[in-house]
Symmetry: C2
Subunit: 124 residues, 2 copies
């Protein structure tokens, strides 16, 4: 599948509330996931599909999602890359704090699978 096809499927699955299925269907076993910042519990850089599944499960278990919209994909000259924008309204269950997050994910492909996802957060 091309970057447009993989990106379109990822956006569709996220908007259908099937983010875990996106990981199962579209990610490489050797996926690298990079957040802006890490914690002791969740380091910024994680490798391997099992670590990414656990991170995703942890995230959904610790957040009440009021709305989540995936927008895109955005594609350019590289057929091994696309970007997706996310608008997320969540409450962090442990703290009770509600946040509206706006972020973009830069996805890198190899052999038709996502091998890296990197998240950048709206700062301005």
């Amino acid at each position: 599948m091309s970057a447009i096809e993989i990106g379109t499927r990822l956006v569709q699955l996220c908007n259908d509330g099937k983010a875990q299925e996106a990981v199962d269907q579209l990610y490489s076993p050797d996926i690298v996931s990079i957040e802006g910042q890490g914690t002791d519990e969740m380091p910024a850089r994680m490798e391997g599909i099992e670590a990414i599944r656990k991170k995703s499960e942890w995230w959904f278990a610790n957040h009440e999602i009021h709305s989540m919209q995936a927008i895109g994909p955005f594609c350019g000259h590289r057929d091994d890359q696309f970007v997706v924008q996310f608008e997320i309204d969540v409450t962090n269950k442990p703290s009770g704090e509600r946040t509206q997050m706006s972020e973009v994910g830069i996805y890198t492909l190899k052999d038709g699978k996502v091998v890296q996802e990197e998240f950048l957060y709206r700062m301005g």
Copy 2:
């Protein structure tokens, strides 16, 4: 300046209608600019600040801008990278065709200057 500072300034200048000043202030002489697709007149990959200035002048001369909004910057773990989202409503003067474009730019920094800008277009 950090990625957040440079990205914030770029967004501000674009939203003030001063995109050319952003190039003058923030870009390296060795800037590489990569569009999704090129034409004979405007190749997808251009190098050097003079080529980028001419591309920008050509673009503003050939488009009537109804609105242009820069959103961001989006920043992550790399201090040499940020993303800006653009929502643009323009009429192409030669064709008369009006288009609403949604795109993201991925900016790479070196020694406090933008050395690469890469544009990806919303496909879904």
